[in-house]
Symmetry: C2
Subunit: 526 residues, 2 copies
């Protein structure tokens, strides 16, 4: 069997390889047939050199030209939907429908089209014009962006199809994609469609490039290379922190989404009012996709009392009755097992589950753990171990003040939720916990589980370290996600004809938002 | 003589000290009388704990309340102007007038008032409202900000008076200021005024705190402490990179301004047209403040030819005729001497200067070096050694293509300038060098030296590494500078009354710019 080819400088060609790998079908635990190369540094080096040329060429393209590429690509994805869904299902065991075909694929093409709209409008660049000082500034493309995609969203966060890809391209940068090793075949199909779209819309040859895998050392070298502009990474904390250190040392921006336990606080009045509905909500959110969401509710804070005991019982029943889903890979299953052990060693007790799953594929029983507020406070770091998968830890606090105290011991998270009585009887308690929770999360929710991540201009899919590497940026939501892959560029006394179109007196599209002398406007200057 | 007190938790008190230091008068090389403490970790620890309390209290203050503090502080600075100018002059040897009294002091109070205006309007927070998705977001304060100020602007970049301070406070954060050891007395006066303003406007006790010096280890511990929100640093690259590593490892944002050689490209037509005027411009810019500006033009790129030789001669004459200024400190003088040696070892040749200065204070002769494009390309890293002070390196390229090539070997810089003929005869050459220069600098100038840094909304006083730590942020210019000290906070389905004022339907000031369903507006929602 021949080894799959990498996409470098616009050509599919044999990799410079140090070895090969195959992905597993997690539902059967058997290796899939296709063989993929592990690239040596030679491939990274060629891709970087080609990307520098592409970056310079892309800087000469208009937002409309970049938009045309993204839209053409989105259409090609739709025309290959069956192939993508079948391949991703085989590689991840995620359900074909509704998940892959009806939810994740439309989300993916929607993101690409929102990226196109952002590129076309140019408003994302925050063009700022000070007519009195003769100074104008905007965000501009930064250079080649390396994207490392996660295992859990083969489409919507994929290295050559997801939000980081769409944002990096829309901001005017070429992308070097590193496939996730658990779904290389899916990534290959995306790369074929992207490359076809790139040719059809006359993009530079190396606008999109694909490597399947590198050594860890070469990955670190890649993000730190002088030719690299920035990196987007979604994945495990351990691997991400190594890349972060390499990029930080080289002074290269890196945007990471690393881990999150997504605390949910459920106040007494909410349970009094709608215990069963919240138990349904929670079990649905926690077990959806076998719990393999970045925003999976991994820690629930409750106040001690009878209703809390009823709630724990109700959730436990739902966990036991719910089917056991298949996990994404052998390593996800192994990590879940060891992290559940770590939580129990740190003082958490099993409510339900904990053992092996009953399925044929990689799996683990739906697992609910509990602990007391006091125990949590005594061992807060270990009890925040992320058990990525179909599991959650309930922390029962003595009272609202202990709840607030334990929230102040939380690491940075992507999300935090508070459920409260709709008629206001929890409002004092809400006030006690909202501020400490707010400062530790990127997105604060009310009366709603965190697993839905709307592609909204107001979304923050980000948060304080270690959920991400910087609390000021979102990975989801156009146009805010673009600015991560841009540099601030000021023009001081630069002659009018030499300014980029975004900064010339005439509004470049007639509808681009620009901050002119302190006022946001779509009008021409002067 | 008693040792000066530190300002912690709203109280002036004796430091927990490991030793003391005194600043020098650089004009006389003699130590000044006041003795200042080197704080131990105990002071840092107390300041951090107090700052966390202040941060929570500040989150309850309105933008208008924060603005009132900044404005009151600015007025108090003006009422202590004579004292500030006299002390800063003694500690830095910078001229009292116009520099300190007529330029830097008004710039400083202007920045504080612009920070106040930004806080009052709230537009800096980029409030974004998606009415359909029920999601709203804005930037919000991040927590205690540590500010390390540089030696060269005791007012405008001072740790308790400068741009980082104004931006951090305006964004709603308390500041822990670490004085620059070369002007502790100046910093003390600012802290007195700030503390008086804080009391008068009923700010939290630890809104502003001051330490004079810590060990390097404690400085690194401070920026990495879990209680710290972010750090602003302006100073030497060596010390800055140590702080950066500590902050990066802890996942704490740090904004650094480290070093810059500020390349200036002078094209042949510009010399043909106005050689003497450019020589005047250049010598004035390079020698102003004895060359001790972050944006001092340290590298000039010229094309080989007779006019270039005339230009070098003309600048050399001006350098020899100009008075030799006093450097900020003994260590600045020692660094300048060793960096000039390093440049010569790397292949640069002296045109004028190079020796000891003739003044009574710390000084060095006005120094002009030159080298060839080929030499620069062979030794690009060493020939980019920043010689902070009254010195510059001219690089004579064989032709415009070699000039473009050597620009592509430049490190990241704050600024880059291109001088060209006003009638367009350099336009082809401009096109050749503009793109490589653009990608390596934060601010691109035409026909203008880089030393003026206007406090403009469109200013970028920032640039790619190693000029700063991140290419997306500016340290000068309101309101953009504020966002460095903020986190992105999204609210998903949060009940209307619980939203911050910035995100409620009613526009909080009647004039706050918000992005509502994709349109910037100052109107109410709905």
């Amino acid at each position: 069997m021949s080894v799959q080819q990498v996409l470098i400088a616009g050509q599919w060609r044999d990799a410079n390889q140090s070895g090969t790998f195959r992905a597993d079908n997690p539902a059967t635990r058997e290796a899939l047939p296709d063989e993929f190369p592990v690239s040596t540094w030679a491939d990274c080096d060629e891709a970087l050199t080609a990307a520098v040329t592409a970056a310079a060429q892309l800087r000469q393209k208009s937002g409309a030209q970049i938009a045309a590429f993204l839209e053409d690509y989105a259409a090609r994805i739709e025309s290959r939907a069956d192939d993508l869904v079948a391949t991703a299902h085989a590689e991840t065991a995620l359900p074909k429908a509704p998940r892959l075909a009806d939810v994740e694929l439309p989300r993916t093409t929607n993101q690409l089209r929102l990226g196109a709209a952002a590129a076309r409008s140019g408003s994302w660049a925050q063009a700022t014009i000070d007519t009195q000082a003769g100074i104008r500034s905007c965000f501009g493309p930064l250079g080649p962006v390396c994207v490392f995609g996660p295992n859990n969203f083969p489409f919507a966060f994929g290295s050559i199809s997801g939000g980081d890809f769409a944002a990096a391209i829309a901001a005017g940068n070429p992308v070097i994609a590193k496939a996730n090793s658990s779904h290389p075949g899916t990534t290959r199909i995306f790369a074929e469609a992207a490359q076809a779209a790139s040719r059809a819309t006359e993009m530079p040859a190396a606008t999109v490039q694909l490597l399947y895998r590198t050594s860890h050392d070469d990955g670190e070298r890649l993000v730190a290379d002088p030719r690299t502009g920035a990196t987007g990474y979604t994945g495990s904390r351990g691997a991400g922190l190594k890349l972060k250190q390499a990029a930080d040392t080289a002074g290269k921006p890196i945007y990471l989404e690393l881990s999150s336990t997504n605390p949910v606080v459920i106040l007494p009045g909410a349970l009094e009012e709608r215990l069963d509905a919240i138990a349904d909500d929670f079990a649905g959110s926690c077990l959806m996709g076998t719990g393999q969401f970045c925003t999976n509710p991994g820690i629930v804070v409750l106040l001690a009392g009878d209703r809390t005991e009823q709630f724990i019982k109700a959730v436990g029943e739902r966990f036991e009755q719910a089917p056991v889903g298949t996990l994404l890979s052998k390593s996800v299953a192994a990590s879940l097992e060891s992290n559940l052990s770590a939580l129990q060693e740190a003082g958490a007790e099993l409510v339900v589950g904990g053992g092996a799953g009953t399925g044929q594929g990689y799996c683990r029983a739906n697992t609910l753990l509990r602990t007391r507020g006091e125990t949590f406070l005594a061992n807060a770091a270990a009890l925040q171990t992320e058990a990525f998968g179909n599991a959650s830890l309930f922390v029962v606090a003595d009272d609202i003040h202990q709840a607030a105290q334990l929230l102040s011991h939380l690491e940075g998270n992507l999300t935090g939720c508070i459920y409260s009585h709709t008629a206001g009887q929890d409002d004092d308690d809400y006030a006690t916990v909202a501020d400490p929770l707010r400062q530790r999360v990127g997105r604060l929710l009310n009366d709603k589980m965190p697993t839905g991540v709307a592609v909204s201009s107001a979304m923050n899919h980000g948060g304080p370290y270690p959920s991400t590497g910087h609390p000021g940026f979102t990975a989801v939501g156009m146009p805010a996600a673009l600015v991560r892959f841009a540099m601030l560029q000021s023009y001081d006394n630069v002659r009018p004809a030499r300014l980029p179109a975004l900064l010339q007196d005439k509004n470049p599209t007639g509808g681009t938002w620009r901050l002119v002398d302190g006022q946001w406007t779509t009008a021409d200057v002067g």
